[in-house]
């Protein structure tokens, strides 16, 4: 076991609790005392229902949300979001690929801006070259560089969203429900893409999902969240075959499985 790349210790996020004119707002804990660790190259899933605190966790790790207690350590040091290196090393893929892309910018312009600002490439020509490589990596035609997000379908936009996240060569990819807005057939292609990228680039993946079957296919370990707490964690095989907590059992029971296919052997 190598040293974890990311460690969350006693992480908590509390909203509200502010003094108003006449009363004090009751505080709400979106996350309470969360301990998690991810090894380099591993895919860790956080599962749970809406409001369980999954996205809050993702946002804390990506630096979009400031935790109110606890600490985050990244690569052995406290995560410092003022340091450009740490910001670059952790990138996020969002659920809605449309609202996470600038509708007015051509894909090429959006990607090369990112590359130049972060100093990934020295000049515009190199940036365009790198953009083409990135699109190829996510299975998009190079012609996409000249078009705006509105020209693409949901699945294509999600591919672009992944290319955007990969542009700055991150070591940790945080994906918050990246496939739940997509059709099944497209969902499969995005999952396969994430799996391939994770292997080829040695990415560490923090995957937020409510779909247990997806988690089963993509991730090594899983943490189950309920009401802001991590109630159970372990390897995917362990947790799914022998869930310890009642909530995990309920979650597993609610996922409907399809009957096994009966088709001729040649077709299979």
């Amino acid at each position: 076991m190598s040293a974890p790349i990311l460690e969350l210790e006693g992480l908590g996020v509390r909203y509200g609790g502010k003094r108003r004119l006449w009363h004090k707002e009751p505080p709400f804990d979106a996350a309470i005392d969360v301990d998690l660790a991810i090894e380099p190259g591993e895919a860790l899933a956080i599962v749970g229902e809406s409001g369980a605190g999954k996205s809050t966790m993702a946002r804390c790790v990506a630096g979009l949300q400031r935790p109110t207690s606890g600490s985050i350590r990244f690569q052995g040091r406290p995560l410092d979001l003022r340091a450009r290196a740490d910001r670059r090393a952790i990138q996020m893929v969002f659920q809605d690929p449309y609202s996470s892309l600038n509708p007015r910018m051509k894909i090429g312009a959006a990607l090369s801006e990112l590359l130049l600002v972060n100093g990934v490439v020295p000049n515009r020509a190199a940036a365009l070259e790198r953009c083409a490589e990135l699109l190829e990596m996510v299975g998009m035609p190079v012609a996409a560089l000249e078009r705006r997000p509105s020209a693409f379908s949901g699945g294509q936009r999600q591919r672009i969203g992944i290319a955007r996240a990969l542009a700055v060569e991150p070591t940790l990819l945080v994906a918050d429900e990246p496939v739940s807005a997509l059709d099944v057939s497209i969902q499969a292609s995005i999952l396969l893409l994430l799996r391939r990228l994770q292997r080829e680039l040695g990415l560490t993946l923090l995957f937020i999902s409510h779909d247990l079957a997806v988690v089963h296919q993509l991730c090594d370990r899983v943490a189950v969240m309920c009401d802001g707490r991590v109630i159970e964690q372990g390897s995917v095989a362990e947790v799914f075959s022998a869930p310890q907590q009642e909530f995990t059992q309920q979650l597993l029971a609610a996922a409907t499985e399809l009957p096994p296919l009966e088709v001729p052997a040649e077709v299979r």
């Binding site: 059709d183 499969a188 292609s189 996922a255 077709v267």
Partner: protein, 332 residues
Amino acid sequence: MSGEPLLSVRDLRIGVAGRDKAAAFEPVVGASLHARRGEVVGVVGESGSGKSLTLRAIAGLLPAGVEVTGGAIDVDGIDVTAAGRSQLRGMRGGVVGMVFQEPMTALNPTMRIGAQIVEAVAAHANVSRAAARGRSLELLERMGFTEPERRYRLYPHELSGGMRQRVMIAIALAGEPSLLLCDEPTTALDATVTMRVLDLLVGLAADLDIAVVLVTHDLGVVARTCARVVVMYAGRMVEEGLAADVLQRPRHPYTLALLRAVPTRDATIEELEAIPGAPPILTAELPGCPFAPRCAFSEPACLEAVRTEAIERGRTTACRRHELLAVNGSLA
């Protein structure tokens, strides 16, 4: 589950008028669907397959500029395509109830939920306020709300997504319809809540002896709730049959591809297969099978014509080569 179907849609075509002839297109080309009382029928397909438009056409709720251009829709003896505005108004709510995907936008945020159900009850029956209130409480209770009197006074924002959807179902049932149309009713909900809403729908179909048509893109939902299922692709019906049959022994390559794309807990990601290519652009005329360009079993003749065949009773497929998928079939 016998006798004449309550709902029958035959060879429905829906057209969208464009600015000129070239921009006009048909998002639905030949959808057929039947539902009997007490039965839950699923309509599955991906975005753009025409499933939601088909459902809206049944309720006479097509958006402006979109029209039924062919085929017939019969709901409990009413010819929906020929019915006038007032006849459709009478039908909606009274004969046909509808539940939409987004319960938050469908409910009025400034009205208590009780008042919204009362409004729906009063719109369909000439009853006193007290009787309407009683009926609303009864509906809430039927929807599985504990303490209906207390819930009655709540506003939509005070309810969870699953509760809102159950309020929507209560409103849809207020006029005692015999057909309930549900457009992706559980897409925005959590798995455990989804299960509860689906079980409620199945229970309602049986207890109230109504037909339920459920449009969804989730094959798991179909497996859980539907007796029969219609699979749509590019505005066409590609396969129809008993849900258990279709999901386990698909006889159309598109259904098979869709089933293979669903992640399961007992398969590895390597067994997951994405469908190559993209759905066809519907503005173009498609004489043949719309799935042929993406299909592993297609032959040149597939691009020329489609023939919908009945394989067995109540089971049809639009694939010429469906025998390749039959368990005892042989490779041609």
